[in-house]
């Protein structure tokens, strides 16, 4: 029998939604016993986002957030949108033609990692127990099928499954309500969606992969508050876009978001990003600078149409674990926070009056919230881009967002599955990526080095295969095993040996981005939690 602990609410994942939920619970009822589990070595270690943040939800959580020292230090001062025509040319979109949802007046350039660290301090100040270094590895159920809590993973287990001298059995955390806020494609959230059929009636979920770097640049090039977005080159075989934000302390962040419904198996999001940085629009800021950090994370972007039911018996699914990101704004922090706060408000009501049903109580609060109207109003944005392409989709979105305010009387659906889009390698053009120059562009391994990622070496592999013959079988034959290219951390390799190809999984490099779990055409790879504290140690990402 594993040891167990009892709580009123257990929250899985110390990101913006989970921490906002914990804080709101304690604000509404200080007597509640609330705990937050976080698999990273510290809060913020696994957090990666652009990020330009809209402070709306934060203002509702803490009216005096500025006084309390929330790390929103750089207001957006200038907003630019570019269309990159090729490796040299670009066109800046006139401000009047930018969809309203993509304008950033009143928003802040932040490090979401630092914002989460601050939120965790506030939560602890209110009496929330925050436990970094502990991964929720397993969902526990009552006999009636409702969620009972979670169990943390065992520590000190060898690669072959034996107990080492440091072995420590996982613990059960039981709660009246368990809140899952693991971020995009949470491995427990995925199980819950399936078990409770939370996505019945919703469109299939859609995903993107975001790759990001943090740079220290020369003072004369730094313009705090400057925000650049753009699309076009180098993405020819996929949709997506780039961002470049000038934060504080002479730092800029640059990143590329690649939609994971791309078809060409030769595409490498990592290398698309590396060559993007050579475009003059980007290179003008990075040249002479130093790269400080690197990371990647998948993004849930299906929006309103793909949003699953967020409550189930004994549990709630919030933030990007459910998919509350507003894709038209390319922002998910304020919506994730709001979803956590609404979940907390619903739970607090049910704690006060046990006769209330959690699901209906939450739905009522949700339906009356700005979160609902924001997600509903932008429901067509991504499907329009997918259906009509960048130009006509963009025109549709301009009319919908700027003239009709999101009230276009139709709803577009995108019912395709991201992983099913891959075309045969033999029928797809190979992409010739330039070699990295070591100044603006770099190889995968020197990038992974900067993510400070580490996993205890002697532990079971946390990237599991349902069928170990697929990578070197059908995946290799049809798609030249695309995991070698879509993984931004070089985890997967096909090694040619005398007795044939071998599929090697370098699990130690893993950045916990979840792309393999999403994009494998055979849906053969399942990401599970490694030993707690394993994974990247991002600074202010």
């Amino acid at each position: 029998m594993r040891e167990s602990m009892e709580f009123d609410v257990v929250i899985v994942g110390a990101g913006p939604s989970g921490l906002s939920s914990a804080i709101r619970l304690k604000q509404l009822n200080a007597d509640l016993n609330v705990c937050v589990l976080e698999k990273g070595s510290e809060v913020g270690a696994h957090i990666l986002s652009g990020a330009v943040v809209e402070p709306r939800a934060l203002e509702e959580l803490f009216e005096n957030w500025q006084e309390l020292g929330a790390p929103l230090n750089t207001p957006v001062s200038k907003d630019q949108v570019f269309l990159l025509k090729d490796g040299q040319l670009s066109k800046e979109l006139p401000h009047a033609l930018v969809p309203n949802s993509m304008r950033n007046d009143g928003n802040y350039i932040v490090s979401l990692g630092n914002l989460c660290r601050w939120l965790a301090e506030q939560a602890e100040g209110l009496g929330v127990e925050v436990f970094p270094g502990f991964a929720a590895a397993e969902i526990l159920y009552h006999d009636d099928g409702s969620v009972k809590g979670v169990a943390t993973g065992d520590m000190g287990v060898s690669a072959s499954g034996e107990q080492l001298s440091t072995y420590m059995e996982g613990m059960e955390l039981h709660a009246k309500y368990t809140v899952f806020s693991e971020g995009c494609r949470g491995h427990l959230g995925k199980q819950l969606i399936k078990k409770f059929a939370l996505d019945s009636g919703a469109d299939p979920q859609h995903y993107a992969l975001g790759i990001k770097e943090l740079w220290q640049i020369p003072a004369e090039k730094h313009q705090p508050g400057l925000v650049l977005h753009g699309a076009g080159w180098p993405l020819e075989e996929a949709s997506g876009g780039f961002f470049l934000y000038h934060g504080d302390n002479q730092q800029v962040v640059v990143g590329l978001i690649v939609d994971l419904n791309y078809k060409n198996p030769w595409l490498s999001p990592y290398e698309e990003f590396q060559r993007l940085k050579h475009h003059p629009v980007i290179a003008q800021y990075l040249e002479g600078g130093e790269r400080v950090s690197y990371g990647a994370r998948a993004i849930t972007k299906g929006g309103w149409n793909a949003l699953p039911t967020m409550s189930m018996p004994g549990a709630m699914l919030i933030g990007c674990d459910a998919g509350t990101l507003n894709v038209a704004k390319i922002k998910g922090t304020h919506t994730a926070m709001k979803s956590g706060m609404l979940a907390a408000e619903a739970m607090a009501k049910v704690f006060a009056d046990a006769s209330l049903p959690l699901g209906e109580t939450f739905n009522e609060l949700f339906d009356r919230s700005w979160l609902r109207s924001e997600l509903y109003g932008t429901r067509n944005f991504a499907p329009a881009m997918h259906k009509f392409g960048t130009f006509w989709g963009g025109a549709f979105n301009f009319i919908d967002q700027n003239i009709l305010g999101g009230r276009m009387p139709v709803t577009l659906h995108d019912t395709s599955l991201d992983h099913a889009q891959m075309a045969n390698a033999s029928a797809s053009p190979k992409i010739d990526y330039p070699k990295p120059d070591g100044k603006l562009s770099f190889d995968r391994l020197s990038s992974v080095f900067l993510s400070n990622t580490n996993h205890e070496e002697d532990q079971p592999c946390h990237l599991t295969l349902a069928d170990s013959s697929i990578p070197t079988g059908s995946n290799l034959e049809k798609f030249a095993e695309p995991a070698q290219r879509y993984c931004p951390a070089g985890v997967y390799e096909i090694i040619e040996q005398t007795d044939g190809p071998k599929f090697q999984i370098n699990a130690q490099n893993c950045l916990h981005c979840k792309t393999c779990d999403i994009k494998d055409p055979a849906q053969n790879i399942t990401w599970v939690t490694p030993e707690g504290t394993g994974g990247p140690n991002y600074p202010n990402m």
């Binding site: 270690a45 630092n114 000190g156 600074p539």
Partner: protein, 249 residues
Amino acid sequence: MKILVGVKRVIDYNVKVRVKADNSDVDLSNTKMAINPFCEIAVEEAIRLKEAGIASEVIAVSVGTSACQEQLRTALALGADRAILVESDAAVEPLNVAKAFAKVMEQEQADLVILGKQSIDSDNNQVGQMLAALTKRPQGTFASKVDVEGQSVAVTREIDGGLRTVKLALPAIVTTDLRLNEPRFAKLPDIMKAKRKPLDTTSFADLGVKAKQHIQLDKVEAPAARQGGVKVASVDELIQKLKDEAKVI
């Protein structure tokens, strides 16, 4: 028997160290900090002595800013009974740390002090030896085995080319090497309990220690970046390059 263990807050061993642009120091902004691995081994050894019924109390001691409380709480979660922070915002120097430990050792009437042999940030390897000199007590450094027998402690030391076992009269100072033990993981309930364990804060002034600055940090430089290799077309070209460019033959 009372044991004091040293706990230093250092940059996490997983984090890539960056030098500040002006070379004045290592850049610690936004970096993950952790308990020094050698100190973690010291904490583990002390807890094992307590579990074996040899030690009655384990006190974790740190010198540094208030942020060091985080690492002291970790030591408490691992099993230390209480903690003392000698709070100081100034750079921590080995001699001052040793002086502070000497005072705490005297106040607490500690029988054994277990310290990491060095910290992974400054790599000084000095505090244990200085503390032994200041308190005029015996020292067993680089320990890979510690056996307390009555009023003495047998310490097996890792030395060049072998092991040397010394027997020290208590009170004594021991510094830990890597192979002494493998530290445990903290358990969730113990982390919660650790929040309520006593953590006292004191200062150099309260201890009567003049924390004079003896060391001035002039400059920190990153190792030179490795130059990329080149492919040569022939053995002759290789020989020519080794002669003319590398100048090694």
